[in-house]
């Protein structure tokens, strides 16, 4: 299974990644072999096997609707590269 450069560009775009021409060349090949490897799985006969919707095998893990104390704002903002007025400061958003 071959991935085209266009497909790889699209996937990179969705992940906010930008590649140089050489990188694009290299990753297109790499990605093709990853997909090829994953495609091995489709050789397995899955007739009659239910679609996996959870890997936990657990269900109905709920929480009561009770308010817990929130975190100290300063702790939450500790890793923010920049902050202002108690908020995370980010570059201009386009859109």
């Amino acid at each position: 299974m071959n991935i085209t450069k266009e497909e790889l560009k699209h996937i990179a775009n969705l992940s906010n990644l930008y590649f140089s021409d050489e990188e694009l060349e290299k990753y297109t090949k790499d990605m093709s072999s990853v997909v090829e490897f994953a495609n091995e799985l489709s050789k397995i006969d899955t007739q009659g096997v239910e679609i996996t919707t959870s890997i936990l095998g657990e269900y109905n893990i709920f929480r009561k609707d009770e308010v817990k104390e929130s975190f100290d704002r300063d702790i939450l903002l500790q890793n923010a590269p920049e902050q202002g007025d108690g908020m995370f400061k980010i570059p201009k958003v386009i859109g």
Binding site: L14, R63, V67, K68, S70, F71, R73, G86, M87, K89
Partner: protein, 474 residues
């Protein structure tokens, strides 16, 4: 050429739970930025979400009230996209196994009833809020709203006009208010709609290319954005242009819609089951229990008003369209049997003043409206005075009986006092007497008007009328 408009809506409603969907942070609106936050709702690596049980219950309530099938097996999925208000870079939503499917609602536009199909209702988390940074030119992110539970109600493309779309959203709002699962405050963003719209030549059965206008948060914006988009698409088609499938925004201040930049249009969300969350399996008993305990819904209350209280359908529609008004009406009719008159006051002056003053709530007790009606019915005050008292109640919130006593507004129904006024008015208006005797009936109205003025609105108009006739016919 004549065109048909095809509209489908995605309505988002914030649920009125105390806490967020996956953590115990408060959902209260208007807190200081980032003070209702924790590692889960700010998307810190390794933090684990745990589903709030009320979110499931509220979504099922909404589903049942909108005639949906409730799915006993459901799961939650990740919807992946980058936006700074979404700290995890994915939104936990539901993809192929939503909680509710295949519902419908009946809407009423100018007496025309129509069913609108509901494809699905699913649960998901809200995103944070971007605030404009006045100094830096960038943006400031407040995550108080991140992880607040939402239901998304997706309709079939069954609407054909902005009026139908508006009626549909109004119906959803009323139902959610009656269920008390959402406060539906549109100006706070807790109810908002995305509009999918396309046009096609009348008679055509295939759909045209649709656009999606996102995040409309008032009835006015919904109506205007739809009208704008219909006009834009028709003009484009008439000019031989092709409609491009795109996401659009609506600028309510400028009254225009515009396309968002291309990149974000890549609707490739790569959904997959959220591995941090367990499946949802609901027993028939659990669902039935919710069904049996649903509160009364707008339609049944409307029928009651029409059949038992004799209200016109139009009035019943408007009053039951808002839970606040319907509750106010019900409470007022406990203190006064004249339901029609209570309804008239609500439909008339009350709604007018609420709109004028942009109020969400009536500032006085329903009992006070009942007292006002009782005073009119018993002849204690005239309806002209009642209007003034009513305005006063809006200002002060006071008991109308107190207002009437304090301001001396009791209607003059004493024969002697009325006669005194009548004689005085006749003495001052000899020409009117001549006119009346010459057969000009209008003169009587004029005299009564003068007498009302003389008594500053307090004289009983029926008695005035009667006494003028007596005197004039002497």
């Amino acid at each position: 050429m004549e065109y048909e408009v095809v509209i489908g809506l995605e309505v988002h409603a914030e649920l009125a739970t105390k806490t967020k969907i996956f953590c115990g942070c408060s959902t209260q609106f208007g807190g200081e930025p980032n003070t209702h936050c924790c590692p889960v709702c700010t998307g810190m690596p390794g933090a684990l979400p745990v589903l709030n049980e009320k979110v499931v219950e509220y979504a099922i309530k909404a589903g049942l009230a909108m005639n949906c099938d409730i799915e006993q097996n459901s799961k939650q999925d990740r919807k992946n996209y980058f936006y700074p208000d979404l700290p995890k870079a994915y939104q936990i939503s539901q993809y192929d196994l939503p909680l509710c499917k295949n519902g419908h609602l009946e809407i009423d536009v100018d007496g025309q009833k129509k069913n609108i199909g509901i494809t699905r209702i699913h649960i998901e988390e809200d995103a944070g809020k971007l605030n404009h940074d006045e100094f830096g030119g960038g943006a400031l992110v407040d995550l108080n709203r991140a992880c607040v539970p939402l239901i998304e109600i997706v309709s079939e493309p069954d609407m054909r006009s902005s009026a139908e779309a508006k009626a549909y959203v109004e119906k959803i709002k009323a139902i959610l208010e009656y269920l008390e699962v959402s406060d539906c405050k549109m100006q706070e963003g807790s109810l908002r709609a995305d509009v999918n719209l396309s046009i096609r030549p009348k008679g055509e059965t295939k759909f045209g290319t649709r656009t999606e206008t996102k995040n409309l948060n008032s009835f006015k914006a919904i109506t205007r954005a739809i009208e704008f988009e219909i006009k834009r698409q028709i003009e484009a088609v008439e000019n031989g242009e092709e409609i491009i499938q795109e996401t659009r925004r609506w600028d309510d201040d400028r009254g225009i819609g515009y396309a968002m930049r291309g990149k974000e249009d890549a609707h490739d969300y790569r959904y997959f089951p959220d591995p941090d969350l367990a499946l949802i399996k609901l027993s028939a008993e659990y669902i039935n229990n919710i069904r049996e305990n649903l509160p009364e819904l707008p339609d049944s209350r409307k029928q009651k008003y029409i059949n038992e209280l004799g209200l016109p359908e139009y009035d019943a529609n408007i009053i039951t369209g808002s839970k606040m008004l319907a509750d106010f009406f019900d409470e007022a009719t406990k203190y006064c049997d004249n339901a029609k008159s209570i309804s008239n006051w609500i439909m008339g002056d009350l709604l007018r003043i609420l709109t004028e003053k942009e109020l969400e709530q009536v500032p006085f007790k329903p009992e006070y409206l009942a007292k006002l009606v009782v005073m009119i019915d018993s002849g204690k005050i005239s309806s002209a005075i009642a209007k003034k008292v009513f305005e006063d109640m809006f200002e002060t919130g006071e008991n109308p009986e107190d207002i009437v006593t304090k301001k001396g507004l009791v209607q003059i129904s004493d024969e002697g006092a009325i006669k005194e006024i009548v004689l005085k008015v006749l003495e001052n208006n000899p020409q009117s007497i001549i006119d009346f005797k010459a057969g000009k009936d209008k003169a009587l109205g004029f005299l009564v008007g003068q007498a009302m003025k003389e008594s500053r609105g307090k004289a009983n108009p029926q008695m005035l009328n009667k006494m003028f006739l007596e005197e004039l016919n002497k």
